[in-house]
């Protein structure tokens, strides 16, 4: 594998890893959603939800870990080629992180009022899980939306003759 191929495959590798991470984050958000639901359901249903969360946990590991390990191995093999990667997907990842932070702040302000009047009977654990779930959901959905918008932008090129100059 030459350096040029290495660089490209590294860029693609990072994109794939970012997409897997976002998907993993979305699944984690679902897990938090289920653990929030546990506050409102019976003990028997709690058991079912616990099992679903365990399955989701394994799913997240299977989804993210192999891609992350591939990325680490590639980075280890060619440190020079892997310096400061950048591109569309990485920027969308950063934008999604910013949006999630902004929305979390607004949600916290909302909760400050709501927790006093409407949700005062619920424990602190509920609110922490709720905030984490909202943050992760906003992050992952924003990322999917921005990334998808990038896919929709695409006009395919027709100039290739197979010979790169």
């Amino acid at each position: 594998m030459n350096t040029r191929q290495m660089k490209v495959s590294f860029a693609e590798q990072i994109d794939r890893m970012m997409q897997r991470i976002a998907l993993g984050v979305f699944l984690v958000a679902i897990t938090y959603g289920l653990s929030i639901a546990e506050f409102f359901v019976s003990t028997q249903t709690n058991e079912i939800l616990n099992n679903v969360m365990r399955v989701l946990g394994v799913g997240i590991l299977v989804l993210v870990l192999p891609q992350f390990l591939k990325f680490l191995m590639m980075k280890h093999k060619n440190r020079e080629a892997c310096k400061e990667p950048e591109g569309f997907v990485i920027e969308m990842f950063d934008k999604a992180t910013g949006k999630a932070f902004q929305f979390t702040f607004l949600f916290l302000v909302f909760l400050e009022f709501a927790s006093d009047s409407l949700l005062s009977h619920l424990p602190g654990e509920f609110f922490i899980k709720l905030i984490i779930m909202v943050t992760l959901t906003i992050f992952s959905l924003t990322f999917f939306f921005l990334n998808r918008a990038g896919d929709a932008a695409g006009q395919e090129d027709e100039f290739s003759n197979g010979d790169t100059p």
Binding site: R4, Q5, K7, V8, F10, A11, E12, D15, A81, E84, E86, G87, F88, V89, E91, A149, G150, D151, A153, G154, Q155, E156, D157, F159, S160, N161, D163, T164, P165
Partner: protein, 71 residues
């Protein structure tokens, strides 16, 4: 879509008979990055802009320009 920055990557690719993927490989980014730069959805970093210009052996201003100034 960024209205302030226009680019001529597509023109340069046509002159060099290159696909988006060829250019992406040459400068170490993904095809999606080149595609989104071309259509004005993604404003590239200075480093990516300079890499593209260096690849085509032209000044960066030949490829990227501010729309208001070029009108």
């Amino acid at each position: 879509m960024n209205k302030d920055l226009s680019n001529r990557i597509r023109v340069f690719r046509a002159e060099h008979r290159m696909s988006q993927n060829d250019l992406a490989v040459a400068i170490g980014v993904t095809r999606k990055t080149i595609n989104t730069i071309e259509v004005g959805r993604y404003v590239p970093s200075t480093i990516i802009a300079l890499k593209i210009a260096r690849y085509f052996k032209v000044p960066v201003e030949d490829i990227f320009s501010l729309t208001a100034l070029s009108d």
